[in-house]
Symmetry: C2
Subunit: 416 residues, 2 copies
């Protein structure tokens, strides 16, 4: 009963027929790019079918994209033994990319993706302290290095997007409040801009969980999944919600703040001052407390989680019990979110993604016991394939988004 | 940071320029009607400003709507002592209406609204039993009576929409599962159609909480509120969620199923077999149990709630304590929903709407104690002005929706 793209009613076009035609043509150019990004190479006939456009229109659009240097056509090759030689349209690989940077309390990571979602660059650094000055200097260095490396490799960076926890003003680039960093009112974009050379690509910011959801959607879209929920597992726990492929931000911009939903354990104190919060039960610190090892160095969570996964595989009872506790708590909150949002898929990211069925069994059991719709209402629950890199990947996708929305405008900006 | 209507990107138009122009003109006709519905009478200059359209375009659209008999222009009158005489465009009042019918476990209600949202008809009946045959016969009679009364009054019914609790297939008109009615797999639309005369208006069905949200949006839209949450208070508890003016259904159609979210009271058994559910704490039966009166006749909930409100006003300690318990539980779930969805307003409907500040004080207190964003993230919490009539009103709005989407197609269907 979902509306398909073709059912979407035609909205008011305010600025007259000429503007409308130009806007439609530009949007169609973007849709051709998006289709190639989702499905890989495509013949012009397939593109026409995918997009419901006349073949003549597709031919014109493809010519224009070739001129913009965003796609190319392969030489005619025979797909099989019979039939006409088939020429395919392909995205031009590494000429353009988007740079995403995730800032967390213990470090930052830069990921660059090209138009085909291939990783051109992936570099992580650790912080000793997460005060704004330290982090801004380190992240500016990370961006500068990435721009240098990518430039040397012949890839033009279309934009930079920063993923950060907490609440932020995307228009001004200011972090309003980010509990995991201990930040309030930090002018992130301005602070990075003044530490970087002039004429760098535009810098945007967005919430880490939302960008994690964007990264998952780049995969899920090809499966026909347009409504999904991404749950971050780190020092904080947040959700990124996509409804019909769009980020749900909410009227006041706080949507997805699931870290302090009550899980019904009144004895479990949360650093926020309340009791029984989601974060107090399932944040990475709660998991590590439950494992009850000697204190760990949280600056290399990837290695730490890889080690703990190996211990789970080997049947370590402390690790398995801790995963049972986390999975139960996570299942209760995921069940709530399924009742409220009825997504097609729930994807568990961050440290959750390291534990596969060790965790999913408990999560699914708790969902099944609580969610009102049988079999979780047909919603699929799985772990992310991106580990801790999801938000940075989603940020890189977002940095590339302009080229899929209006490639002409994007290329015009570049040539200035 | 919300996108305004003017920011919405122009989508792909698949069927060529001619279709596109027709679709845009028809959509614009609907937007003129919607603007008049939201703001009341409007001069052509005001319409042009509201919609961002050239005055010449508005003039053409108004002429066409006059021809369709949907609007008329007043005689030129002087708005004040100075200035040019002002001619205004008005919706033609009662010539067309939508009929909404809510089915609940104890009775049904029919409400007809005209294009200006004025109530043309409001009639409620009670059931002794809620088995499908009894209800279908009674509801068919209710609809037949309404069509007769409205026809005699010269108002043409554009459509009939049924509001019912639970899960349903809107395409086939089948109720899949409705716990408050004890129904599963009831072919509601087919059952009504076969009990009604031929050539009645089209009958649609939708979920009661979602239609309650639609009724609230008819008011909230004029306040600039486009993201809201409506919570039903009756034998069941559900939520209708509007995101940017659109109903959030979720990929699997279960969105808003909040009745069995856990509120953290493991000792409180719910008829669903789980413990501590929202419904076990705040459904009308839980409230009445807490008041601890002798058993009430639930078939006239309106009178019962009016009486209980009077007792609350008079300081009856049992009623006030019960409202404290309900308000606390409701506040916890509303706080959760605010964290997840970040709406601009939460509106408490059904029996909740009878108790104003007696209830709201407790709800707001619990939200403030739990929701992560201070001051509930700027979200307003209030009671509905529609009492138990919200879902039927929302159903009537939905029955009228076609005329605001494409008035030409709607009038063409009528003349067949």
């Amino acid at each position: 009963m979902r509306m398909t793209r073709a059912d979407v009613p035609v909205p008011l076009v305010r600025s007259g027929e000429v503007a409308s035609r130009t806007a439609i043509r530009r949007a169609n150019l973007g849709l051709v790019l998006r289709d190639l990004n989702t499905h890989g190479s495509r013949s012009q006939t397939q593109l026409a079918e995918d997009l419901g456009l006349p073949k003549a229109t597709v031919s014109t659009l493809v010519s224009e994209l070739i001129e913009l240097d965003l796609v190319y056509q392969t030489d005619a090759t025979r797909a099989g033994a019979v039939g006409r030689p088939r020429q395919t349209v392909e995205l031009r690989g590494t000429a353009f990319c988007g740079l995403g940077v995730e800032i967390a309390a213990t470090g930052a990571r830069a990921v660059a993706l090209d138009l085909r979602d291939d990783v051109l660059h992936d570099h992580a650094i650790a912080f000793d302290r997460a005060d704004p000055d330290t982090v801004l200097a380190a992240v500016a260095g990370l961006i500068d290095d990435a721009l240098t490396v990518l430039g040397a490799a012949g890839s033009q960076v279309l934009g930079v997007t920063i993923a950060a926890p907490g609440q932020m003003d995307r228009d001004t680039g200011v972090i309003r409040f980010a509990a995991p960093l201990g930040w309030s009112e930090v002018a992130l974009v301005a602070g990075l801009t003044e530490r970087l050379p002039a004429n760098i690509p535009p810098i945007l910011i967005d919430n880490d969980a939302r960008l994690g959801a964007v990264a998952e959607y780049a995969v899920a879209r090809a499966e026909g999944i347009h409504d999904l929920l991404y749950v971050t597992g780190g020092l904080g726990v947040g959700a990124g919600i996509l409804v019909d492929g769009q980020i749900l931000r909410g009227a006041m911009g706080f949507a997805g703040e699931i870290g302090h939903l009550p899980l019904g354990n009144p004895d479990l104190a949360c650093p926020c001052g309340r009791n029984g919060c989601v974060e107090a039960t399932v944040a990475v610190t709660a998991f590590l407390d439950a494992v009850a090892d000697p204190p760990h160095d949280l600056r290399d969570l990837e290695q730490l989680m890889t080690d703990l996964r190996a211990r789970a595989d080997a049947g370590d009872p402390a690790v398995l019990a801790a995963l049972g506790m986390v999975g139960q708590g996570l299942g209760v909150v995921v069940g709530m979110l399924i009742d409220v949002l009825s997504p097609r898929a729930v994807i568990l990211g961050g440290y959750f993604s390291y534990f596969g069925d060790h965790l999913l069994t408990h999560v699914r059991g708790a969902v099944e016991a609580r969610a009102i719709a049988g079999q979780a209402g047909g919603c699929e629950i799985r772990t992310s394939g991106f580990g801790f890199t999801g938000p940075a990947r989603g940020a890189a996708h977002t940095a590339l988004e302009a080229v899929f929305t209006d490639p002409v405008a994007c290329m015009e900006r570049l040539s200035k």
